[in-house]
Structure formats: structure tokens, C-alpha cells
């Protein structure tokens, strides 16, 4: 199975947080491939895709953030009508719950966080979708 490691950071709703995270990683020469922020009135969760998730986690933890790593599927989905619906249908049929999904900037790649990663991976592959490894993801991006 090919998955990509995603960092999730818990954030209080305070100004300047996202900036300081990006700055910390930037100064360490770590490239952020994409990020997404989910928030409620009280707090938020920032999700990041970086090349070296473990090193970035250690770095951010040293700055006092709490960081978890989750495995997500990086699925290449052509820019055609109905393709996203097709993915949703496959997962739905198999009873796989999508926790969240977000896109890679400027590319037809979507990141899926599901409750059964292994099964989702197999089903997408067998339906002809391309699920990228981290290596493929980071190297085709350059």
C-alpha cells in the first residue's frame, strides 16, 4: 500500500499561529507541499504535507506544538466531470468513511483521510485510480 504521511497540529484560535509554523519549517529548509486548516469557534487543526514528516514533527514538537502523523491516500483524479463522484461512490459502496479530503494545489491530486486506509487503497487501485507513493508525490511536484 502506498500512503503519504500527513502532519496534524492542534491550534488554539490565536493570530499568528499558522505563520509561526510555516516560518519554523521554512527556516529549517522544509518545503510545505500543501496545507489545510479546519477550525471551530474554539480551536483548529492544521494539516500539512511535507517531505520528511518525522523530522518536521520533531521540530514542531520542540516549538511546543502537539503533532500527530496520519496516513493519507494521495489519489490522482483527472480533471473530468464525474471522476470525484466516482471515488466517492467506490468508497461509499465499501462502507469506507471519509474523514476529510483536500486537494493538492494546482494539481489533480486529492488527499483522502479514510477510516479504512488499506481497503480504500485496494478498491481505488482496482478501479483504475492512481494512488501515489510519497516518492512519486514529492518528485513529480518539482
Amino acid at each position: 500500500m502506498e500512503t503519504v504521511k500527513q502532519l496534524s497540529l492542534f491550534l488554539e484560535n490565536k493570530p499568528g499561529h499558522v505563520y509561526s509554523i510555516c516560518k519554523t519549517l521554512g527556516e529549517a529548509g522544509i518545503n510545505i507541499y500543501t496545507l489545510t486548516l479546519a477550525d471551530t469557534a474554539q480551536f483548529g487543526i492544521l494539516r500539512l504535507i511535507v517531505e520528511d514528516a518525522e523530522a518536521s514533527k520533531a521540530l514542531l514538537e520542540k516549538e511546543g506544538f502537539i503533532v500527530n502523523i496520519a496516513e493519507v491516500l494521495a489519489v490522482r483524479i483527472d480533471n473530468q466531470p464525474g471522476r470525484l463522484a466516482q471515488v466517492a461512490e467506490i468508497l461509499n459502496k465499501e462502507g469506507i468513511n471519509v474523514e476529510y479530503v483536500y486537494a493538492f494545489a494546482n494539481r489533480h491530486i486529492f488527499l483522502y483521510r479514510v477510516d479504512d486506509t488499506e481497503k480504500a487503497y485496494q478498491k481505488l487501485i482496482s478501479n483504475g485510480f492512481c494512488v501515489l507513493s510519497s516518492h512519486e508525490l514529492f518528485n513529480t511536484n518539482k
Binding site: S8, I66, E99
Partner: protein
């Protein structure tokens, strides 16, 4: 002190009840007589009750005597309760308290020796002695914690590191470099030390630290368990208060069924806080202490405002001096929320029943219109936080339910980032009350 003299000192905790009671009675008569002659406030209160210094015939007669309260110390500030000439005073200690003028306690040479004896006996219960290196991280100065533990440890021939509180990184470095075996500080400060040590990459279990003498603020059993799990040391509860002398009024023993009070020096009673009536052992009420052997500023029937119980029966450790139940909350800390009495310690206990919840929390009380609300800020850990909003909402609910089941009120649980709540070097401040502001 000679080894045999120390053994004799430790044996005082095991003397027969008859012998103990005869010492108590003789000392009570003596201190009542001394205070009657030399402490104007005590004398006038005795006279109001039609009593004089011959009224003590048996120990029970203590119940006739008037009470002292903290306000008496404030009203007579600074030296109104002084009962010896100032030339005989060799030490002054003070406590600021949270409101109003400070209180001052004056000690004669004999009073300092008595206080030292109490802290020595307390430390001996924890097995501390010569060969131990004690990092005394209580604040030195007017606060009694630093000096109290210092004299006790030194009296036992232990090596004292008088580091005082603060500069946590240095605390950890010296603890490791010097092979410190025992630390004394507030439990909340030790939590901060544990946390900081982890961040700095120290492994507590590889250090020589074995014992912690913790006091000066109320703490729950759940907190004790958490401290022991995370540091691998034994956490001992020491009780004391400035008005009586300082730390070492009562001390935990290995049986952990209450704190032994050195009752040949400090005589405990439990009273009904409403009526002032003395209650039998085994009943909960306000702890009242009489200093049986303290002459600079004797405190007769001092109302501590601490709620406790004198534990009935003998302790399995064999000590004959009585125990008081661990004090995990102070009456002064009580919040009244929508007519319900709430103690911060109840919230602490609820929080710590949930694995992964950090022992760092802060309570904020607000008033919206006529309604008081409680917000509990809790630091989140990686263990508790998955990667979804839902995972956090689940833990918020879990914490909220745990608190509600204990205090009976719904609270708002706010997850905050680790390290964002203020760390205390001394007594932790757990509550911000924004009502009437």
C-alpha cells in the same frame, strides 16, 4: 546530632498514648498560662468567658478556650500577639496571603528548635537522613517553606541544596549532576520540573531522585498518582501552615492513611465550622490546632479553615500520634457556582481520571446576567488529539462529563495547547474569577 539522639527523636512518634497525653496536658497548662499572662487578646477573650489560666484540669478543658482566626493576626499586625520581649525573638517569617495586610510570625530560639524538630521528624518518616542530598526548591525568604525544610534536613545531617524555587532548567541540571535523592517543593512546581526535564531529554528514571516532599498547597490523590507514575519517585505529603510554625505540622507515612500530626507539639481538634462545637475523631470538620510548645506567638485553638478528619484507630505503621485526613482542598478555595459548592480539587480529580489528560488546568468563572459559568481550560496532549475535529470534541465531552459527574454542573471545556497555561514555581493559581469585575 548523634545517631542515638535521632533515633530517640523518631521514637517520639511511637510513645504510649498515656505518656503522650500527660505531655500534652502539661504543655497545654503551661502554654495557656504563658499566653494568659503575656498575650493581651487571649487574656481578654478568656476573661469574657469568665476563665483564667487555671481552667485546664484535663485535656478536654481545651474545648472551653476561645478560638483564634487569621483575622486576629491581621488585626494585631505586626506584633500584637507577641508574647515574649522582642529581644527574645530570633526570627520573623511572614505570609502575604491573597488579600489584606500580611501576617507575621515571631519565633524564639526555642520555637525555631521546636519547628526544626517537627520537620526533622517529618523527614525521618520518609526515611530521609544523612546520605541524602536534598534539593530544597521551596521558596526561601519570608515564606516558611524554604527555611523550614532547610533546618529539618540539616538537622538530620542530610546534604541540603538550598536552590529555592525558579530557574527550572538549572534545577534539573543540578538534580542530575549532583545525584540529588530528594526534592522538596510544591507539587505543582514538581509537575513543571517533570515536564521541563522531559523536554530537555532527561530520563527521570535514570536519576538518583527517590523521594519528593510536597506541600504548601492542596493536591489530590490523583495528582499524587500522576506524579509517581511520571517520575518514578515516592511523593510524600507534608502539611503545615505559617501561623502554626511552617511545614512539618503533620506528615504522610508509608501506610498512606492520613498524615501523622506531631501532636506533642501541635494539638489537633476537629470542630463544626458553623457552631464551633468540638467533634469526635472520625468526623469531618474544620481542623483547629493549638501550639503546645511555642512561646513567641502561641496560637491557641487556631482555626485553620482546612477541612479534615482525625482518623480513628491505630496506623499500621505503628506510630501512636494521630493522623489527619489528607487535605486536598482549602475552604478558602471554594467557589459557589449557581448555589453549588465547587472545589478546584474536584475538577482536578475528575480530569486526572481520564488517561492522557495533563495535570495542567485553569478554571475561569464568569457571570453572564444572573448565571455563573465555569470554563475549564485543559492542555491537550498528542495522545488525546487524533487528527480530526471530532476526536477533540469527543475528549471535550468526556472531560465535561467526568467533571459534571463530580460537581453536578455543566462546564465548558476548552482544549488549549500544551505549555500554554501558566506554570507555577510556588503555589499554583488554578482559578480566575471574573465575577464582580
Amino acid at each position: 546530632m548523634e545517631k542515638s539522639a535521632l533515633q530517640a527523636l523518631a521514637q517520639k512518634d511511637f510513645m504510649s498514648r498515656d505518656e503522650l497525653e500527660s505531655i500534652q496536658l502539661a504543655r497545654l497548662k503551661n502554654i495557656v498560662s504563658h499566653a494568659y499572662k503575656n498575650q493581651a487578646l487571649f487574656r481578654s477573650r478568656m476573661q469574657e468567658k469568665g476563665l483564667d489560666d487555671t481552667c485546664i484540669k484535663e485535656m478536654k478543658d481545651i474545648q472551653k478556650l476561645p478560638f483564634f482566626k487569621k483575622v486576629d493576626l491581621r488585626d494585631t499586625y505586626p506584633f500584637g500577639l507577641l508574647s515574649v520581649p522582642m529581644e527574645d525573638i530570633i526570627r520573623l517569617q511572614a505570609s502575604s496571603g491573597t488579600t489584606g495586610s500580611p501576617i507575621v510570625i515571631a519565633y524564639t530560639r526555642e520555637d525555631v528548635a521546636c519547628w526544626q524538630e517537627a520537620t526533622m521528624r517529618a523527614l525521618m518518616i520518609a526515611g530521609i537522613g544523612s546520605g541524602d542530598i536534598i534539593q530544597n526548591a521551596y521558596g526561601y525568604g519570608l515564606f516558611t517553606g524554604g527555611m523550614g525544610l532547610h533546618y529539618g534536613a540539616e538537622g538530620l545531617g542530610a546534604t541540603v541544596l538550598p536552590i529555592s524555587s525558579g530557574n527550572t532548567e538549572r534545577q534539573i541540571k543540578l538534580m542530575s549532576d549532583f545525584g540529588v535523592t530528594c526534592i522538596s517543593c510544591t507539587p505543582s512546581y514538581f509537575l513543571h520540573i517533570i515536564e521541563k526535564a522531559k523536554q530537555l531529554g532527561y530520563d527521570f528514571k535514570k536519576m538518583k531522585l527517590r523521594n519528593g516532599i510536597f506541600g504548601a498547597e492542596p493536591w489530590t490523590n490523583e495528582m499524587r498518582q500522576r506524579i509517581e507514575e511520571e517520575s518514578g519517585i515516592k511523593a510524600w505529603d507534608i502539611y503545615g501552615l505559617t501561623e502554626i510554625s511552617g511545614p512539618g505540622v503533620a506528615m504522610d507515612c508509608p501506610a498512606r492513611t492520613g498524615l501523622h500530626m506531631f501532636e506533642d507539639l501541635f494539638y489537633p481538634e476537629i470542630i463544626d465550622p458553623e457552631t464551633g462545637e468540638a467533634l469526635p475523631d472520625g468526623t469531618e470538620g474544620e481542623l483547629v490546632i493549638t501550639t503546645l510548645h511555642k512561646f513567641g506567638m502561641p496560637m491557641i485553638r487556631y482555626r485553620t479553615r482546612d477541612i479534615s478528619v482525625i482518623v480513628k484507630g491505630e496506623c499500621e505503621c505503628g506510630r501512636t500520634i494521630r493522623r489527619i485526613k489528607r487535605i486536598d482542598h482549602r475552604n478558602d478555595d471554594m467557589l459557589i457556582i449557581r448555589g453549588v459548592n465547587v472545589f478546584p480539587s474536584q475538577i482536578e480529580a475528575a480530569l486526572l481520571t481520564i488517561p492522557g489528560v495533563q495535570p495542567h488546568y485553569h478554571i475561569i468563572v464568569r457571570r453572564h446576567g444572573d448565571l455563573d459559568t465555569l470554563e475549564v481550560q485543559v492542555e491537550l496532549s498528542a495522545e488525546l488529539f487524533g487528527d480530526t475535529i471530532r476526536s477533540i470534541e469527543v475528549i471535550q465531552k468526556k472531560i465535561g462529563n467526568a467533571i459534571k459527574s463530580i460537581i453536578g454542573l455543566a462546564v465548558t471545556v476548552t482544549p488549549v495547547e500544551p505549555g500554554s497555561l501558566e506554570r507555577s514555581m510556588g503555589k499554583a493559581k488554578r482559578v480566575t474569577d471574573l465575577r464582580n469585575k
